[in-house]
């Protein structure tokens, strides 16, 4: 099990808790929560993160904008990102991919699906 420090970004406190719980069951216990893109960007600066899981629909800075910002940053552009969102139209998925997301999970998700995507992304690195 790789030693990951994960940044979990979602404006819903409930979803953040579910994410944290799911990740913990999958063996990833070092999880930091952020409530939107701005908060996530701020926490990212503290460093040490090697994985990001982010929602899309968030106030202040959306998930897509956050992904763009990460990919445009020299310091953080290599961090793998998975988007976890209710959005499931093709345009959105393609936009996420083009913005630089490594994978995509549709809500509501099962713990196995999220773990599978994390494993897949880590294997591809």
């Amino acid at each position: 099990m790789p030693d990951l420090k994960i940044l979990a970004v979602d404006d819903s406190a409930t979803m953040r808790r579910i994410l944290k719980n799911t990740l913990s069951r999958a063996g990833y216990t070092d999880v930091v929560e952020a409530e939107d893109g701005v908060d996530a960007w701020s926490k990212l600066q503290s460093g040490g993160f090697n994985f990001i899981i982010t929602d899309w629909n968030m106030p202040n800075m959306s998930g897509l904008e956050f992904v763009n910002a990460v990919r445009e940053s020299e310091k953080f552009k290599q961090i793998p990102i998975i988007m976890v969102t209710t959005r499931s139209v093709k345009d959105d998925i393609v936009a996420a991919m083009k913005a630089g997301a490594n994978n995509y999970v549709v809500k509501p998700f099962t713990p196995n699906t999220l773990k599978e995507k994390i494993d897949k992304v880590l294997d591809s690195l």
Partner: protein, 338 residues
Amino acid sequence: MKKNDLQVIELALDQLRSHLLIFETHFPEVVKGARMRAKAHLTVFSECFPALRRMVNFAEIAIPAIEHMIESVPRSFGDIPQAASNLGKVTEATELATTEIMDVVDGATERLSQQAHRIAEVMDADLKGVRAHAEQLHRISGLLSSTNGKVSAASVKKALKILHQQQDVLDVQNGKAESTYKEVVDSLEGIKDLMFQIMDALQFQDITAQQIEATKAILSKLDGEIRELSEDFARGAGGAPFCFHTEGVFDPEAAYDHQRAQQKQSEADGLFEQGKSAAETEETAPEVIPSNSVKQTACSPLTNQTAVPPPVEVADPLDASAEASEEMGQDAIDALFG
């Protein structure tokens, strides 16, 4: 337009009606005594009276309608904060209930883990005890085995002593086991109570459904009144009806449906798989579609502009595979990401 203004208009119309009546009454006499040309002009003028009367009658009908509008619109718009408040309560209730449920689940999980550990400990102790008893029984058996049909008194005494000792050990062991099992059973009953707490918390769904229904009722009423006003003004002004925009940080298609999500996940996976293959051969920098806000409008393109710029036309194998706005399942998304 204020109520006073309408009263002024009503007064003016009353005066106009009075003047018209006087004119109509005395007009035949005027026409009689006038010259031919003046008579002709006045005759034409008299033909306008019915039209003027119709205008006055129309104004008499329109004024109450405008009065009603002035009174009812502020009242309707006053309901909007209530609708917003209702929805705020729904969000709050669901958040609270969900937190409660998760606390219960965490507690129950912890308790189950503890009880499983205790049962394991007792089982371990029981197994060891059984082995120990078996050894002692072998000893007793050995002691009581006769040689030539005779068993010494000392052997019997020793065997009895071992039996009594084992009896004491068993009593203690059974007592401990019984106590532990009882505690475990009580704890499991407690977990059952926790599960029921979850059921209690799920009542939020019924409560929030009612709050949502209340909000829906307000919004339906508002929608009807505003549309009616919009159409009336549009007819009067001779233009297009007023257009409505909705913006916000939300996905209007979000739904709690595992089956649908699984299907969409497949499609999203497929897209990511395809995209990965395409990206490996692509030389140009990736295009990014800005803005996450959802903007819905019922307006025609001639009267309104959307905030999101049209996507840049780029030859993309993904475009050939499905409609742009078609929803994707997880498998398709997996295929796209690779």
